[in-house]
């Protein structure tokens, strides 16, 4: 196994609120390999986006606090690095795209200017016309027709799918080795989503980037990712290769989540298998396993002891006291 491009170790972070400090991400570790795609899935508030923002050094300050954990980029510890070092890596080496490109793009500047702005940072030596040509090249790379004319347009003149393409073009301007994609297709229609996923796949194949793909959509995970981490209430519940996760999930949460999606083989208008209850409030988390309040297997031990994430075979890890019961 080659050395991972990015390695995150035991990340703990959270926010200072009126009600005191709330930990949102608890002991999250993962690795990204060149050319590979790791999916980070979970429902609203499970900590997947906060994990990614922390890696980018973009956790809002001063409310956001990184308690502990280390982030290694090609062997260098980013968490220890000063702001300058982070600035060198962010964008150029590790880049990020977001769910809503409209909020990430500046509405009063033309597309061209915004791309050139990014290029100035990464390739400062280039003259104006070279930058312009590079911008056109980038737009063509992400499949935007009539790229030269598009440079003169404003973000509102583009459709949602086109805006996301522009965002991807900007994210790739610095030729990053790691791309973090935070729900990049969630706001898009399904046919446009298919276009963007196709684009990401082919760009990854061309450039050999490592990708961290954050989503709540297990369908997208199944299509795009090699490995998957399932998060629940700030912790990792399960980690496995995509085939293993869908074929034999070992965490009751993963199992319940997969079963609650309607599939074409299910008879229509029948009751879906559901996970009862709701995710507990961050301030009212159970002391032990955070899923225990909704889990059919939960006993005293689950309520009091935090289950450790442990291996149950090659690269399949689960944080559940009763994982063997699902294997049966």
């Amino acid at each position: 196994m080659s050395e991972p491009v990015l390695r995150v170790e035991a990340l703990r972070c959270g926010f200072d609120t009126e009600a005191g400090y709330i930990r949102v991400v608890d002991d999250v570790s993962f690795e990204l390999e060149a050319g590979g795609t790791l999916g980070l899935v979970g429902e609203s508030g499970c900590g997947k986006t906060v994990s990614a923002l922390t890696v980018m050094g973009l956790l809002p300050k001063p409310a956001g606090i990184v308690e502990s954990g280390r982030i290694f980029y090609r062997g260098d510890d980013l968490a220890a690095a000063d702001g300058k070092a982070m600035g060198r890596v962010r964008g150029r080496e590790i880049s990020m795209i977001f769910q809503e490109p409209m909020t990430a793009l500046n509405p009063v500047h033309r597309i061209g200017r915004q791309i050139v702005e990014a290029l100035k940072l990464y390739e400062p030596g280039n003259g104006k016309s070279v930058q312009r040509e590079r911008a056109i090249e980038l737009l063509e790379m992400v499949g935007i027709p009539a790229a030269r004319q598009r440079l003169r347009e404003y973000p509102h003149q583009l459709s949602g799918g086109m805006r996301q393409r522009v965002m991807i073009a900007m994210a790739l301007a610095g030729r990053p080795r790691v791309l973090i994609a935070d729900e990049p297709t969630t706001a898009l229609d399904v046919t446009v989503q298919a276009q963007i996923l196709e684009l990401l796949r082919s760009l990854q194949a061309q450039h050999g980037m490592a990708m961290l793909f954050i989503t709540h959509d297990l369908g997208v995970v199944a299509e795009l990712c090699d490995e998957v981490i399932v998060m629940y209430a700030g912790r990792i519940a399960e980690r496995a290769s995509v085939e293993v996760l869908f074929r034999s999930p070992l965490h009751p949460y993963t199992h319940g989540l997969i079963r609650s999606i309607p599939t074409p083989d299910m008879p229509a208008k029948t009751m879906l298998p559901v996970i009862e209850g709701v995710v507990p409030q961050l301030t009212e988390m159970p002391a032990g396993c955070r899923f225990s309040s909704r889990c059919e297997f939960a006993d005293d031990r689950c309520q009091n002891d935090v289950p450790a994430l442990r291996g149950s075979g090659t690269r399949h890890e689960v944080a559940c006291h009763h994982w063997e019961r699902l294997r049966e």
């Binding site: 298919a194 709540h216 229509a268 208008k269």
Partner: protein, 342 residues
């Protein structure tokens, strides 16, 4: 046809586009352009399509939340446009709507109890005590604690708020509920709970549901029949399973093939549509899908295909669906796909 609860014929809704300092009308957004369907008691019709195809406008126009440009809506045989204010008001009890974001439709300053009692107050039903009990019964029915009636909307999660939205919709025991992206914003596990609640209520109350959504796999699960919209028109209508298993319109084919399936072992041929949906202000001539259709021929650009009954409860609006289904014509994308697999 008297058994139809709702009959929509040739529904048209244009929104004027105004420009210039005098806000002169310069054109129309053809949001809904001649949509017809019917719905029986206890039945679910799914209405799917992508952003801007007009599906939500259909729902709102039926309830007269938007006034229609032309067309006719009949409810239990009565033409809604002919009703007096008073008649309309009493009929409105029978037809309810649940929106995507219940927070927008629930008054943030009112307690849940007051929100749920409101429909009874408006229609002059019951004493204050009775109304309070009814509101609490409703909460219990949708799976919330009876004591929740003195809390405020912001104290609930998204899924719980949607339960409240549903409770309010069923308060007056309607015959029809329009679900406008009612489960679209919910997390997967919560979404399954709400879908089950809707299915249960439908069975109990013999509700007819018009289920408007963009997620075809959810729509297939809850619907008896599905209508697919593209740029203001229905392009295909069929029994739910059929539309998923054997889509006939090229747009439906692309839509079905684009659904990401939560099963990494299932490899499907994907039809990736090129380009974007054209502007509904000046929709393409002929078939509205021809600008993105891999099968488009000359007559597709000139003649608008009618929604034609092709038997076994299926309707298709495509000049070439028979040729496509028999494999007589191949689209550019299919050619590309078969090359890749070789």
């Amino acid at each position: 046809m008297s058994e139809d609860l709702l009959e929509v014929s040739n529904l048209v809704k244009y929104f004027p586009v105004r420009a210039g300092i005098f806000l002169r009308k310069t054109g129309n957004v053809h949001a809904v352009d001649g949509v017809s369907f019917d719905l029986k008691q206890g039945e679910t019709l799914g209405l799917v399509g992508e952003s801007g195809c007009g599906k939500s406008t259909v729902g709102r126009t039926i309830l007269n939340l938007l006034s229609m440009t032309s067309g006719e809506v009949r409810f239990e045989g009565r033409v809604l446009g002919d009703l007096s204010r008073k008649e309309w008001r009493s009929l409105r009890r029978e037809m309810q709507i649940v929106f995507q974001d219940p927070m927008e439709s629930l008054n943030a300053r009112h307690t849940i109890g007051r929100i749920l009692e409101e429909p009874f107050v408006i229609h002059g039903m019951g004493t204050p005590d009775e109304r309070r009990t009814w509101a609490r019964d409703l909460l219990e029915r949708v799976g919330l604690p009876r004591e929740a009636d003195h809390r405020f909307p912001h104290e609930f999660s998204g899924g719980q708020r949607q339960r409240i939205g549903i409770a309010r919709a069923i308060a007056l025991k309607p015959k029809l509920i329009i679900c406008d992206e009612a489960v679209s914003a919910l997390d997967v596990s919560v979404r399954a709970q709400i879908i089950n609640l809707l299915l249960e209520l439908q069975r109990e109350m013999k509700l007819a549901l018009l289920f408007i959504a963009h997620d075809l796999s959810v729509v297939r699960h809850v619907s008896d029949r599905v209508a697919v919209m593209y740029l203001g028109k229905i392009v295909e209508q069929a029994p739910a399973q059929e539309i998923y298993d054997r889509p006939r319109h090229p747009y439906t084919r692309a839509l079905v093939s684009a659904i990401p399936e939560p099963d990494p072992t299932r490899v499907r041929a994907r039809i990736v549509l090129e380009g974007d949906v054209p502007s509904p202000i000046s929709p393409p001539t002929g078939c509205r899908f021809h600008t993105r259709c891999v099968y488009a021929a000359q007559h597709c650009r000139e003649q608008l295909p009618q929604l034609e009954d092709v038997g076994s409860e299926r309707l298709v609006a495509c000049h070439r669906w028979r040729e496509i289904e028999s494999g007589a014509v191949k689209g550019a994308a299919e050619v590309k796909l078969s090359e890749e697999t070789n």
